[in-house]
């Protein structure tokens, strides 16, 4: 394990932080610290250059206008793509998740995404609001997915692109799959925040950076929360 600190970069908290998105950053930070790993967290506003030396980049949710602005700035900056090519991990939620793809809809128009994953997003006929559960794609070795979704978009994965999970309750991408897994990138529609409800995903991201599985934590409260939320859907 490297003695260097794990660098967490929260991308544009001034644009992409609709509801509790800071939570995912705080959870990654705490779960690293509790393993004795050094960690540095920073937020980068959209009028700043995105540092390319980060280890895990977080993109949160946002309204249409900020999402469109974030897409423009991230495309012009180019730093996220270079970081990913270097081996950085990405955890993207909701509007931030849609940005990873080839295109998305905002304010009724189609916009270009960051083209980091072969997928595209458009508008669904209904808004997907409520609890979601799913079975995580088996290779990731993570227990059932749980969270709260609230989005008007639908996401279509390109051929050969793996979802994060198959949906057992809720809508997700299209009623069948939810989120995306591509290399060291994870995308999801889920709030909760997602890593509070799925700490194993936080550990997965950290393990990609340290290059080894992490020792388990006690996790009394996250386990109780997961149990309660998953049971509520049965």
């Amino acid at each position: 394990m490297s003695t260097e600190a794990i660098r967490l970069v929260w991308v544009y908290p001034d644009l992409l932080s609709t509801y509790g998105d800071r939570g995912n950053l705080l959870i990654l930070e705490q779960r690293a610290r509790r393993r004795g790993l050094a960690v540095e967290a920073m937020g980068v506003n959209y009028d700043q250059a995105l540092p390319e030396s980060g280890d895990i980049y977080l993109l949160g949710g946002g309204e249409d206008r900020p999402q469109v602005l974030a897409a423009e700035r991230l495309r012009a900056d180019g730093g996220l793509g270079r970081a990913v090519a270097r081996g950085a991990a990405v955890f993207a939620v909701c509007a931030g998740y849609q940005l990873l793809g080839n295109s998305f809809y905002g304010n009724g128009e189609q916009y270009a995404g960051l083209e980091l994953v072969d997928m595209r997003s458009d508008r669904g006929e209904t808004r997907a609001v409520g609890e979601l559960s799913g079975e995580v794609t088996p290779e990731l070795g993570v227990p059932a997915l749980t969270g709260f979704e609230n989005h008007g978009g639908r996401t279509h994965l390109g051929p050969g692109v793996r979802p994060l999970a198959t949906v057992t309750h809720g809508i997700g991408n299209d009623g069948a799959t939810e989120g995306v897994w591509s290399g060291r990138m994870l995308g999801t529609y889920l709030h909760g925040p997602a890593l509070a409800r799925n700490p194993a995903l936080a550990d997965l991201l950290l393990s990609w950076i340290v290059g080894a599985a992490l020792p388990p934590l006690a996790d009394e409260w996250p386990s109780k929360l997961r149990g309660e939320r998953l049971a509520a859907l049965r």
């Binding site: 001034d14 506003n45 309204e63 900020p66 925040p193």
Partner: protein, 412 residues
């Protein structure tokens, strides 16, 4: 009041009152909603008809509207009897009931308006003044996004004769209010800034320095306030007079609400010196800020419904006393608990913290991440047993607050 109403409106008013009375008698609530629903069914224009011949003030915003409405109603009481929706029923059904049940001689009306309904209620009631307090994230699983709300308000306010009293510290409010013909600016503060980093007009990052803010890309900037609070929490009026504000309600945010109320009442000719003693009488509002003494416990109730509200509430809790936090996620609360991560609970470090509510586990995970020590308890009675005799501060979101209020004989 009913004397000069058309026949159908008179009938609607009578039916409204009966429905409300029946609802109260059967213990279903205060009857505001059902009464208004019946009245508006019979006469869809009932709210507009009841508002005619009255001088109306509306109060809207994400936080503080119930308290500010109470303050405005208290201040306007200087002029005579005031009709108001004091039960917090802040949709058109509640407004209609409030006006239908008010005596004919109540020629003044002060109505709290849900943010989403301002666009309907403003044209219906033709208010003389509308007060706009703040806009921030609240129940995002069904509420309008903050920027969209501000835009809707802009549309409603452009071209109307209503005078606006607005918070110059909230860029969203300033953008919305500046569409109006005439505005009085109040420096009511904005501790929660996370929904107004970006200019609502042009999308640039706002520059902020102390209380000041300005957009580098367009004309939007903080207007010079006519009403403000000084360091000591005294209100400075437009004519330069300084008024000490003594309230029973805690927190600087309530002094700011008082300043807004004084600015609204001043539009009707009320002098702050006459209004202030009446504001000092307000002790609690539908249980909010109420202190209850029960079986050796002294329990104070604080309601906090969204991140901005929690920021204020955590600032109000008495130093040293144990605190009970109660969280639900039922329909009126919003179903998504993610907002817990928009609240920094670290002001609670070193205190005794108890946690209950339907969604206590969400809060337990949040507090654990925040490294705030806590004890999970099954319900309010268990919290009282755990806390032991003495003071207990309770901070709860909407339905959790109502549950606890029910355990305390629906304290007002």
């Amino acid at each position: 009041m009913t004397a000069d109403l058309p026949l159908r409106a008179k009938l609607a008013t009578t039916l409204l009152k009966s429905a409300a009375a029946l609802s109260r008698a059967t213990g279903r609530g205060d009857g505001s909603v059902i009464g208004g629903r019946v009245g508006l069914k019979v006469e869809p224009q009932l709210l507009a008809l009841l508002a005619r011949g009255r001088q109306v003030a509306l109060v809207s915003g994400t936080n503080g509207k119930t308290t500010t409405t109470r303050f405005v109603a208290a201040a306007m009481g200087v002029l005579g009897e005031v009709a108001t929706n004091s039960f917090g029923a802040n949709m058109p059904t509640g407004h209609t009931t409030a006006l239908a049940q008010a005596p004919a001689k109540a020629k003044l009306a002060v109505l709290e308006v849900d943010e989403h309904y301002l666009r309907h209620v403003l044209p219906q009631t033709q208010p003389r003044v509308v007060a706009l307090l703040n806009l921030s994230r609240d129940q995002m699983d069904r509420a309008m996004e903050v920027g969209m709300m501000a835009e809707t308000w802009r549309g409603v306010l452009s071209g109307v004769d209503t005078h606006v009293v607005a918070n110059c510290d909230d860029p969203m409010i300033v953008w919305a209010a500046s569409a109006a013909k005439s505005v009085t600016w109040v420096a009511a503060g904005q501790r929660w800034q996370e929904d107004s980093f970006v200019c609502p007009n042009c999308g640039r990052h706002l520059d902020r320095q102390g209380a000041g803010w300005a957009c580098p890309g367009c004309e939007l900037r903080r207007p010079v306030p006519q009403w403000s609070l000084d360091e000591a929490g005294a209100v400075i009026a437009p004519d330069g007079r300084r008024f000490e504000v003594t309230l029973q309600l805690p927190g600087r945010v309530n002094k700011a609400n008082a300043a807004t109320a004084l600015a609204v009442a001043a539009q009707f000719g009320v002098d702050p010196a006459h209004a202030l003693p009446r504001l000092a009488q307000v002790a609690s509002i539908a249980g909010r800020y109420a202190t209850v003494v029960k079986d050796g416990h002294t329990i104070r109730l604080l309601l906090a419904k969204n991140p901005a509200g929690w920021l204020e509430a955590l600032d109000m809790v008495e130093p040293g006393c144990p605190v009970l936090l109660a969280i639900n996620a039922r329909d009126p609360d919003g179903l998504d608990t993610s907002w817990l991560y928009d609240v920094d609970f670290s002001p609670l470090h070193g205190r005794r913290v108890l946690v209950c509510g339907d969604r206590a586990y969400d809060l337990c995970v949040r507090l654990d991440i925040n490294e705030v020590a806590f004890e999970h308890v099954p319900d309010f009675p268990a919290a009282l047993r755990a806390a032991g005799p003495g003071r207990l501060e309770v901070v709860a979101n909407y339905t959790a607050f109502q549950d606890i209020r029910a355990e305390l004989d629906r304290v007002n």
